[in-house]
């Protein structure tokens, strides 16, 4: 019997472990193709741009802009339903990749396309620190 989620947490695999290990140390890293230098997110074995299977994890700036967003209303999983409306954002890193995330210090009504943001980290348990974003100074 699968345990149902209250707040779902990521399954950490050998492929994604470097991302989550860095997040635990409050660092944001991105997988990057050794051959064509394309960043890729979410992590993958092969490169979408050149098919190469050689890649490395590189630190990125954590600077980003707000790309799109929504606020989720019930029916939702219990954790989010209790806190609804629950804002969800997609941000674009200065280096190019986009991430789904939460913005932790901006009221929903103040979300604006292109708003400057900076990565931060939210430690949920010993294993998982989520990458979240704050308004950039």
């Amino acid at each position: 019997m699968t345990m149902l989620a209250d707040r779902p947490l990521p399954e950490i695999t050998p492929l994604t472990e470097p991302f989550w290990a860095a997040a635990r140390e409050r660092r944001l890293v991105m997988q990057r193709c050794d051959d064509c230098k394309a960043y890729r997110f979410p992590p993958e074995v092969g490169c979408y741009a050149c098919s190469s299977m050689n890649s490395a994890w590189e630190p990125v700036s954590g600077r980003a802009t707000l790309y799109t967003w929504t606020a989720a209303y019930p029916p939702l999983l219990p954790y989010f339903a209790e806190r609804a409306p629950w804002p969800i954002a997609v941000v674009q890193l200065d280096e190019g990749p986009r991430l789904t995330t939460n913005i932790v210090d901006v009221p929903y009504e103040e979300y604006v396309f292109g708003m400057a943001l900076q990565a931060d980290f939210q430690q949920l348990d010993d294993e998982v620190a989520l990458v979240v974003f704050r308004r950039a100074d």
Partner: protein, 390 residues
């Protein structure tokens, strides 16, 4: 236009259709309703169960599907020569038929069944079964609260509004138009007319999408019988020929939120399915008399109007607002049965049935002299399309 794909174009036909009633709780299993609609479609075609030698079905990530073994046993088939599931849920509204066309056109099989049964009214929402640990790309989405299709679609819809100036009123107009179509359709689950104001006043589900921008949740099943054009001419119904059939995924795709990882989230699968379905049929958008577009959420209809070439990128909002998808006055009546927004949610199989009815002349919003119908599957997942003609 080209002469099309000589191996596929008009070589096969839809000879029979079957459907259950569309209700909140049908009180029977998906296996039972599957068999019922297959029997009904065979009777509609004038064929016996023992004529069937191929079965094609829909697969949906995270959901069990009914096995071809069980269907074949319960129909009493002497042999099955071709079978298979086509993945990606609503993107497979036409996919099983595409595979049936390939099997029949190449002589691998002679009579194929494509079917979909879904108890989404009485059953649970797939996302509600989200586990405590989530894998794949969802590992980077679900912890942030991005769990269900409506939230994934809302993210794309908001960016679309920003880039192209499309409005919530224009999304709402899709629901209003389709409800007007459903009002004439006795099978439709919702038949009471609504206004743009009603849609905007309905409760928010995922900003900017309101309740009435979202698909129904119903129980129901549909089946379709495909055979060679030659054989179909001798059967009970007027054949509906399959002129074009295609699937399309495009580059670097994930499921619904995957659009947000692409350089251009509006580089959607239907643009690829469109190119191939038109090439296969040797036709273009100007040849289409009526279209049935997958519509689990209202913005998806706008994206298909653009991908299938009825208007330019970003112009579908005004296109809809000007009444151009309305029956009977619009130049391209869309979802003349009411669609997933008003008739029923059968993962788009009911849209194929409506395409067939339009060409048989039996729609409740019949397009006068309709000769060619386009049917297209979901826009934001790997998709499929058919061009049908009488």
């Amino acid at each position: 236009m080209s002469d099309g794909n000589a191996l596929i174009r008009d070589k096969t036909a839809i000879a029979g259709i079957g459907t259950t009633e569309y209700v909140r709780d049908i009180g029977r299993t998906e296996q039972e309703t599957s068999l019922e609609v297959i029997h009904e479609a065979l009777a509609d075609a004038g064929l016996a169960a023992t004529d069937v030698d191929a079965i094609f079905k829909v697969e949906t990530p995270g959901e069990a599907s009914i096995s071809e073994l069980a269907v074949a046993r319960n129909l009493g088939l002497p042999n099955l020569r071709a079978w298979g599931g086509t993945d990606y849920g609503g993107g497979a509204a036409c996919g099983p038929i595409v595979h049936a066309v390939m099997a029949i056109a190449t002589g691998m099989a002679s009579v194929a069944v494509a079917f979909r049964a879904r108890n989404r009214g009485s059953g649970t929402r797939p996302w509600s079964k989200t586990g405590a640990r989530v894998g794949s790309n969802m590992a980077f989405e679900s912890p942030y609260g991005l769990v269900g299709p409506v939230q994934q679609l809302a993210l794309v819809a908001r960016r679309y509004m920003h880039e192209f100036g499309v409005t919530s009123e224009q999304f709402a107009q899709v629901s209003v138009t389709q409800r007007a179509h459903a009002a004439r359709n006795p099978r439709a689950f919702f038949r009471d007319p609504i206004t743009v104001e009603d849609v905007l006043a309905s409760r928010m589900i995922a900003d900017p999408l309101h309740l009435l921008d979202c698909s129904l949740e119903t129980d129901g099943a549909c089946a379709i019988i495909i055979t060679s054009a030659e054989r179909a001419r001798d059967l009970k119904q007027m054949p509906v020929f399959i002129s074009g059939a295609s699937q399309g995924m495009g580059p670097r795709h994930y499921m619904m939120n995957g659009l947000m990882y692409k350089d251009d989230p509006f580089d959607m699968p239907p643009a690829y399915a469109a190119k191939d379905v038109y090439a296969c049929a040797g036709m273009g958008p100007g040849d289409i008399d009526v279209a049935q577009f997958y519509d689990v959420f209202s913005p998806m209809v706008l994206w298909q109007l653009e991908a299938y070439g009825f208007c330019k990128p970003g112009e579908a909002g005004p296109f809809v607002e000007e009444g151009r998808i309305d029956w009977p006055a619009g130049e391209l009546p869309v979802n003349t049965h009411g669609g997933s927004l008003s008739e029923a949610y059968v993962h788009g199989f009911n849209h194929v049935l409506e395409g067939v009815r339009q060409l048989r002349g039996t729609s409740t919003c019949q397009v006068e002299n309709a000769e060619v119908a386009l049917v297209a599957a979901a826009a934001v997942v790997p998709t499929s399309a058919l061009i049908l003609r009488r």
